[in-house]
């Protein structure tokens, strides 16, 4: 539980919406805590996204450039 400051975990059932899916709300809190954990911060998906944006940009620019080249050649 590296950071629970943004979560409100009170006595057992007080925050549960209903008993059918109540356990899931507890699971949700656990998931959010895991998401914020230092181990998850080291995962590849949490590293800087520059190369994702570059990959999308390269495909986009290639598509546009080919469109222009074909259009000019018509």
């Amino acid at each position: 539980m590296s950071n629970t400051s943004s979560l409100h975990i009170t006595g057992e059932d007080s925050f549960l919406v209903d008993h059918t899916i109540g356990d899931l709300d507890r699971d949700l809190i656990q998931s959010l805590i895991t998401l914020d954990s230092s181990a998850n911060q080291l995962e590849d998906c949490n590293q800087p996204t520059g190369k994702i944006i570059i990959a999308a940009g390269v495909w986009f620019l290639t598509g546009v450039a080919l469109w222009v080249i074909i259009a000019v050649s018509l």
Binding site: S6, L16, T20, A55
Partner: protein, 491 residues
């Protein structure tokens, strides 16, 4: 015994509802390029793409239409993946939860409605097409002088709907197992079909053959290319509500863009539609079941059509599963058992079974406008997360349901985002009418989908900058304070 059955049902319901829980990096399903490529091919290679291919042929210039179609997919998918997948990739959240940061806690209903309309709409179109193809097959084989029997079509649709329910009633376990078979099968069938249609006329000759100019959309080459690009962009835009659902299961940054673009775009939708276009040119038929039998003969053709129809099951269960998970955002559905949820989603399909032509016409009309709306939604998501928030949101606040949450905006809705979607839709429709295919003068140079996407990005950025300068709504300029605030979260 009944307790055991009840326990199993509870477990299945819980597992599927748990599909909405944020997925941390270590728990993500897709960590290999090949597996991800297969999953994307399953999504992109639905057999309705053969039908879109026939539309490509009628643009008027087969080469330009296919080139434009591939270019449209290539240039649009990257930015659209960024817009619709980055939040889900970074924080492992469902697309409907992800959109709360831009459209508001309650405003995310728009995404939910669009996601359900798309998944269920496309699924029923696919079921109807499957029924029609089966009916056509039966007529050609057993009643060549008669007409296609509506009862056969209805029976095939009902069998398909029952099969989907049987495969999905125990949760998502069958999806990866099935797509592992259907994805390569779809590509093998596509390769066989390409071989068959190029048996008598070689590939390059076919590629340079066009439909009669009286039947084509236009004879202007620049406009033919632009139509091809726009059809590709529109196809790419249909991924907007789905992509987050896959992105949250991807582990590596290098897998977020290229496997999807190649698998769903170029290999899936791209190749399948290109083959559909060539088949329409080679056989003069736009209906897959008909041209497959014309190309392959009744015996072998029959086997291919049956395999083609069965391969649709992979796409169908993926779509209905996504709908089943997302519909649980509505409390009523969250309380139902998973198998009942799937049954409720599939029940309207019984009406489809008896009205396939009506459904295909009406739903295709509705879905034709999807691109117009999704361009706006994608533009807002891109502008909000990448430009305005600089990729920083508070995941816990996506699950806060009241005004204490950062993404409550005004009454739970970011009305600016909705206004921008309207502006972008207006921009799209002023350039291109997807029903009549009428276009404005600018369309032949820039298309419609990407300009509408750009309009949404710019107008949202400008309008929200004005909001941010005078208000704390949306948690843009008080994020550090909000991060320390105690909030109540729930699914």
């Amino acid at each position: 015994m009944s307790n055991t059955v009840e326990d199993v049902n509870t477990l299945i319901s819980r597992e599927t509802l748990a599909g909405r829980l944020p997925v941390p990096g270590s728990a993500r399903l897709y960590n290999s390029f090949g597996i991800l490529l297969g999953a994307f091919i399953a999504i992109g290679a639905a057999s309705f793409n053969y039908l879109f291919g026939a539309s490509l042929a009628y643009i008027g210039n087969t080469q330009l239409a296919i080139a434009g179609w591939l270019l449209g997919l290539m240039l649009a998918l990257g930015p659209i993946y960024l817009a619709s997948g980055m939040i889900s990739f970074k924080h492992g959240v469902d697309p409907v939860d992800a959109v709360k940061s831009s459209f508001g806690t309650r405003g995310s209903t728009l995404m939910l409605v669009m996601l359900l309309a798309s998944t269920i709409g496309w699924s029923f179109v696919l079921v109807a097409m499957t029924g029609q193809a089966a009916g056509r097959l039966y007529q050609i084989l057993f009643n060549p002088s008669g007409e296609v029997s509506n009862n056969t079509i209805a029976l095939a649709c009902i069998v398909m709907l029952s099969l989907i329910w049987l495969l999905l009633r125990k949760g998502p376990a069958m999806i990866p197992a099935l797509t592992r078979i259907t994805s390569p099968a779809v590509l093998i069938i596509a390769a066989v079909l390409l071989f068959l249609i190029t048996r008598n006329v070689d590939f390059l000759t076919l590629l340079s053959t066009n439909v009669d100019s009286s039947e084509s959309f236009t004879t202007d080459p620049l406009l033919q290319l632009a139509y091809g690009v726009e059809f590709g962009v529109s196809n790419a835009l249909t991924i907007v509500p789905f992509f987050g659902g896959i992105a949250r299961l991807i582990r590596k940054r290098s897998h977020l863009i290229t496997p999807g673009l190649v698998g769903s775009g170029l290999l899936g939708a791209g190749c399948i539609s290109a083959i559909g276009a060539l088949a329409a040119i080679a056989t003069g038929s736009t209906e897959p079941a008909e041209w497959v039998l014309k190309s392959a003969g009744n015996g072998f053709g029959c086997i291919i059509v049956v395999l083609l129809l069965l391969a649709n099951v992979g796409t169908l269960i993926s779509f209905i599963y996504l709908a089943g998970v997302s519909v649980q955002q509505i409390r009523f559905f969250a309380k139902l058992r998973w198998d009942i949820i799937i049954l409720v989603l599939l029940l309207p399909g019984l009406l489809v079974a008896f009205n396939t032509s009506w459904l295909i016409d009406r739903v295709m009309t509705l879905l034709a406008y999807n691109g117009a709306i999704f361009a706006g939604i994608a533009g807002v998501m891109f502008s909000d997360y990448i430009l305005l928030r600089r990729q920083r949101i508070l995941p816990a606040h996506l699950f806060v349901k009241d005004s204490e949450g950062a993404y409550w905006f005004w009454g739970g809705v970011n009305w600016v985002a909705f206004a921008v979607v309207l502006i972008a839709t207006g921009a799209y429709l002023s350039l291109f009418n997807p029903m009549t295919l009428e276009v404005s003068g600018l369309f032949r140079y820039i298309g419609a989908g990407m300009p509408a996407f750009a309009v949404a990005i710019i107008s949202y950025y400008v309008l929200m900058r004005l909001v941010i300068s005078s208000s704390t709504a949306g948690g843009y300029n008080n994020i550090d304070i909000l991060a320390k605030k105690k909030v109540i979260v729930g699914l």
